[in-house]
């Protein structure tokens, strides 16, 4: 009996070894081997069935022997199957190799306008500092565009050469500063807001002028707001927008609706302040106008200037976009040539 078992085992192992190769054919052959030895009508199964002819005291031992052989054959079969599958997979992977340097297939995405990208940068920075982004009307009244901003009735800015008029008090706003007034009139304090939007001035179109452009207005009103806060806030803004190493310079200036007023320059982000063609040799680039909200402006909007102070600033969006993205002609921004738009 034992001999018979050994013989079957040796035979089976020999067959399995011979069944080498790859692919489905080899797997099928292995399956046939499995069936011929271990299947219902297989040789080992037949042996087990013949156990009833064995003496009852020997039965357990013989049974065990048969099972051991069965186990061995199964193991070798499994190993051989595994090997064939692995070889097959490897072959497939090799055959399926592709040229990864062939062009990508993409449905091309559209692009945001350079102005919008610049605006979203500005919004991101100020939202992070707790500012709300609001808007005001583009067609305004004289009151919001001028009077409530402490701009006297006979100020040159109100001449036809600068402002587009409609009729009566109605005009196209020349600055986003009117949103300051709208915001203050809501009567909710403190205020931290920025207001982006389109503004209009009577300038002929050329490489640096456009009769329609965008500004972002900023306003903070609270108790104990100082000029130092204005400096700190805008310095932070400049570093976020132009890079950590950006330095700022505040120069005294004049705006009717702020006092004290300033213009802020940033160190040239092209040359780092050494002076280059970009900054016309000065090392500085003018970025925005700002100042402490004029007490007359607060009073007119119903805020007590003794109790509350604030600062305001205005940034030209196109200016930021032109500088940051090194666009050399403002007209490109309104021409909408797809080859330009796709660069942003």
């Amino acid at each position: 009996m034992k001999e018979k078992l050994e013989q079957i085992k040796a035979e089976a192992l020999k067959q399995i070894e011979a069944a080498g190769g790859t692919g489905a054919q080899a797997l099928e052959l292995l399956n046939e081997i499995r069936v011929s030895y271990l299947g219902k009508k297989g040789e080992l199964t037949a042996l087990l069935k013949g156990l009833k002819n064995v003496a009852s005291e020997e039965r357990p031992m013989v049974g065990q022997m048969v099972n051991e052989v069965r186990g061995e054959i199964e193991e070798v079969l499994a190993g051989a199957t595994e090997k064939i599958k692995a070889a097959a997979l490897e072959e497939r992977m090799k055959a399926e190799a592709i040229d990864v340097t062939l062009p990508a297939k993409k449905g091309y995405m559209g692009h945001r306008h350079a102005n919008t990208i610049a605006l979203e940068e500005v919004e991101r920075i100020f939202i992070g500092m707790g500012y709300e982004v609001v808007e005001g009307p583009e067609i305004e009244t004289d009151y919001y565009n001028f009077e409530a901003l402490n701009i006297p009735a006979d100020h040159p800015a109100k001449d036809e050469q600068d402002t587009f008029f409609i009729n009566g008090d109605f005009l196209l706003r020349t600055q986003t500063s009117g949103t300051q007034v709208h915001e203050m009139e809501k009567g909710k304090l403190p205020i931290r807001m920025i207001a982006p939007g389109r503004v209009f001035r009577s300038d002929e179109v050329d490489a640096t002028h456009s009769p329609s452009f965008h500004q972002v207005e900023g306003l903070v009103i609270d108790r104990h707001i100082t000029f130092a806060d204005l400096k700190g806030t805008l310095a932070e803004f400049a570093r976020e927008l132009f890079g950590e190493e950006t330095r700022v310079k505040f120069r005294p200036h004049h705006f009717n609706f702020t006092e004290p007023s300033a213009e802020m320059d940033v160190s040239c982000f092209k040359c780092g302040g050494k002076g280059c063609r970009f900054c016309k040799g000065s090392g500085w680039i003018e970025i925005l106008g700002c100042g402490m909200v004029h007490p007359n402006v607060l009073t007119m909007s119903g805020i007590n200037p003794e109790e509350y102070t604030g600062f305001a600033f205005g940034v030209g969006l196109e200016r930021i976009a032109l500088l940051k993205y090194e666009i050399d002609d403002m007209r490109l921004l309104y021409e909408n040539d797809i080859r330009f738009l796709r660069q942003f």
């Binding site: 709300e132 067609i139 009566g168 403190p190 000029f227 700190g232 040539d337 797809i338 738009l341």
Partner: protein
């Protein structure tokens, strides 16, 4: 405002600063330097030489050979200049020196022109004699220079001296940008005062003393101001025995550096005082003035007047005139008249120094199209005190320069002057505003430099009359900040109540819209808000359309920018046309911009500004692709109801068979379609164009960022496919509406999967196939449920004239 640094230093004698240092310090204290330029740029090794001997060049008819004494010796120079003679003293650039430009007076080369010894037609030449153009200037500034030739000095100039110095070119001219509130700084004295305060050096203004001849001005002239609202002060003085001659060299230099051409002593004095004090003056020939009388009054409408530039000017009632006893003799503050102008034969001069209403002068100058140096100063609104100071200064110079005698006294017609502004001095408040801890003493020292007085008793600051900009504590705080130094103020961040940063809801929706349409391949463009009224014709919009009622700009840049758009398509089509003409393929653009819809004319309230999302494309894609973008957008902003596409959109600018109004919950969200071929033609676009316009206020109203989980279906779905023969004019939308209406609760969806027109289908019909899916939320559907629902649907479809395909 351009001024030589040497002129500033004349009033701040202790000022010592390199050009760049001066530029930086002045800019930081508020007098911004735009630019500065050394007058002796590229002028090297140039001395005064005297031509001792002139001989003809042996080999060239047009050249001469000069022996020139340059003080340290004599050099030989060959020149072609026609105007020199023996004994002339001329500027000579020596071997290795530099001049600024060529003799033709063209643009100056950046690095100048190096001069080297050499031979001219075989004769040695060891330098060059210079024309004024070669020295970087021109005859306008140096009228005594010959038109074509070497500059010749007067004989009094020492031989061997620095020629550049003698010409007044060892100086730097600074160009300042003066802010409109600082009228006082449109003057040399004003800037000098700021410079003195900036560098903390004493300010030494000229001492004005007038030597009078004992006569009385009232015997010469009387003044009457009829319109004091336009002329708050009129000062008049008279000078006799006028002797016209060139003004002294120092005065000419200063004027030249300021960009003013020297003319003669009298004209130069008025210009000099205008620069120095910022107060324009006018000189009349008293002998031309009728009735010994000056009358200041408004002009009459339609009158004409000849100004001293010999132009006829049309006047109106709002223009102020200076008149004598009979006639007009000058336009106040702008330009004098031809009839009273100073000639070289003038004997007696009437000086006028007045204070005119600034805005009136500005507007008059604009209407006349005549902006002069004088009007530029008057329009800013001058300090009436300055008029007297300036006229006295002019009279002093008349006498000092030997130009004439000064008649005693001044005629002064003057409105009551404003009291000096008194402002409470609140050092704590100033520090509170600035975020500083500046001592009271330091503040007071700043005020002293600025001539702001301190009334200690009342605790008030008193602003000088020329500082009309100082009115309140904030103004004073700025003065403190300027001279304490903006750069020395600390940098802090606001403290206090925290606020939530956020976009407004509208802006959030717009941001979402940008994201979605960009995912769909559309790039953002921007167009102007104003356009031409011709746009309506190009878009085939009928004459009676309300869209033509656009807001009109009263003073547009031109007709093309004259109306506020009521429809957003023109900008889009123009942009697409630009791309089409530049042969850009497959262009998809979008714009988010307002249209402006007035409620009434003329405006009595702000118009309705409606944000429009406008999509436009040509190339790959079609109507349904555009429709897909619209639906992606609606889903992304939470508009989950089914939009209805109504083909009766009635848009004249769209293809009549390819347009739809987008209806949502009974309202109109926008429209889309293929652009009408005639419109494409009007925009020169030779291909099919698809557009969609979404009315964003409507979207904002319907949008929501709320999301609720609706569960995943647990029970299996049952599908039925139906293939139908449909009359051609029945729309898919009608079929779907019918299926939805009849399908009942268990209807999950219906999906079109085939549509066909052709041979197998009869004329006037199309084949349409739908896959209809049923599902119940709470159970597995029975066959009978589906059969019943299908029966209802088919019955309904039959009523539309639809038959199942056999």
């Amino acid at each position: 405002m351009n001024t030589a640094l040497s002129w500033i230093k004349a009033y701040v004698p202790e000022l010592e600063a390199a050009d760049q240092e001066y530029c930086d310090a002045m800019t930081l204290s508020g007098t911004k330097v735009e630019n500065y330029e050394r007058l002796d740029k590229n002028l090297e090794k140039i001395v005064v030489g005297q031509i001792d001997k002139i001989e003809r060049h042996p080999d060239a008819d047009k050249l001469i050979v000069c022996q020139v004494n340059i003080g340290s010796g004599t050099i030989q120079i060959v020149t072609g200049a026609p105007n020199v003679k023996e004994g002339d003293r001329v500027p000579v650039v020596l071997d290795g020196g530099k001049v600024a430009g060529g003799h033709d007076g063209g643009p100056l080369p950046e690095e100048g022109i190096r001069i080297k010894a050499g031979k001219l037609r075989g004769i040695e030449s060891n330098g060059m004699m210079c024309s004024i153009e070669e020295l970087g200037s021109d005859r306008n500034m140096y009228p005594e220079a010959p038109e074509n030739g070497i500059y010749i000095f007067p004989d009094t100039v020492p031989v061997g001296a620095d020629a550049v110095e003698i010409l007044g070119m060892r100086d730097t001219v600074f160009e300042y940008e003066i802010t409109s509130n600082r009228v006082d700084c449109y003057s040399v004295l004003g800037i000098a005062r700021e410079a003195a305060a900036t560098f903390r050096k004493p300010f030494v203004p000229p001492v004005v003393e007038v030597k009078e001849n004992g006569e009385d001005v009232n015997d010469y002239i009387s003044v009457e101001v009829k319109d004091p609202d336009l002329c708050s002060r009129y000062c008049a003085r008279v000078c006799t025995n006028i002797k016209i001659a060139p003004s002294p060299e120092w005065m000419q230099r200063r004027l030249r550096a300021s960009g003013i051409r020297p003319i003669n002593n009298l004209v130069d004095i008025t210009n000099y005082v205008m620069e120095e004090y910022g107060q324009p003056m006018h000189a009349f020939d008293l002998d031309t003035i009728a009735g010994k009388k000056i009358i200041v009054r408004r002009a009459k409408d339609g009158e004409e007047f000849q100004t001293l530039d010999e132009q006829m000017r049309k006047l109106d009632h709002d223009i102020l005139m200076i008149c004598d006893g009979e006639k007009e003799i000058g336009i106040a503050g702008i330009m004098g008249g031809e009839n009273s102008k100073i000639t070289d034969n003038v004997k007696t001069v009437l000086f006028e120094a007045a204070t005119f209403n600034g805005p009136n002068i500005r507007k008059s100058a604009k209407r006349l199209g005549l902006r002069t140096d004088a009007s530029g100063k008057f329009e800013k609104g001058l300090d009436p005190h300055n008029a007297q100071a300036a006229i006295d200064r002019a009279c002093q110079l008349i006498w000092e320069l030997g130009c004439g005698d000064v008649v005693g006294g001044m005629v002064d017609v003057c409105e009551p002057m404003k009291e000096k502004a008194r402002i409470p001095f609140r050092p704590e408040r100033i520090n509170e505003l600035l975020g500083t801890a500046i001592s009271k003493e330091e503040m007071l020292s700043i005020f002293e430099m600025l001539e702001i007085e301190y009334d200690e008793e009342k605790g008030e600051l008193i602003a000088p009359t020329y500082r009309q900009d100082l009115e309140c504590v904030a103004d004073i705080a700025e003065e403190v900040a300027r001279f304490f130094g903006y750069d020395r103020i600390p940098t802090t961040l606001p403290t206090g109540e925290a606020t939530a940063g956020r976009l407004s809801y509208k802006l959030r929706i717009e941001q979402k819209a940008r994201d979605i349409v960009e995912y769909c391949g559309f790039s953002q463009g921007m167009n102007y808000s104003f356009e031409s009224p011709k746009v309506f014709d190009r878009l085939l919009i009928p004459e009676d359309s309300p869209l033509r009622s656009a807001i009109v700009i009263a003073n547009p840049l031109g007709e093309d920018f004259s109306i506020m758009r009521t429809i957003s398509l023109n900008g889009m089509l123009t942009s697409l046309a630009t791309n089409y003409n530049r042969r850009n393929k497959d262009v998809r653009l979008y714009e988010l911009g307002n249209i402006y819809l007035p409620y009434q004319f003329p405006l009595t309230q702000l118009p309705d500004e409606r944000m429009q999302l406008t999509l436009g494309m040509y190339g790959k894609g079609d109507f349904y692709m555009m429709k897909g973008v619209v639906e992606e957008l609606f889903v992304a902003v939470g508009m989950k109801k089914k939009a209805v596409y109504n083909p009766a959109a009635g848009k004249p600018f769209l293809h009549p068979g390819r347009q739809a109004l987008i209806e949502y919950e009974g309202g109109v969200a926008g429209y889309l379609g293929e652009v009408h071929p005639l419109v494409c033609e009007n925009y020169d676009i030779g291909t099919r164009v698809y557009v969609a316009v979404i009315d964003m206020p409507f979207v904002v109203e319907k949008a929501t960022f709320d999301r609720k989980y609706e569960g995943i279906a647990k029970y299996p779905a049952v599908s039925r496919d139906i293939s139908m023969v449909v009359p051609k004019d029945v729309l898919a939308g009608q079929i779907e509406a019918m299926i939805e209406q009849r399908g009942g609760k268990i209807l999950e969806s219906c999906q079109l999967f085939d549509i066909y027109e052709g041979e197998q289908i009869g004329e006037g019909f199309k084949s349409v196939a739908y896959s209809i899916t049923f599902r119940a939320k709470d159970r597995t559907l029975e066959e009978s449920d589906v059969t019943a629902a299908m029966k209802k649907i088919l019955n309904g479809l039959e009523s539309l004239g639809i038959e199942l395909r056999k």
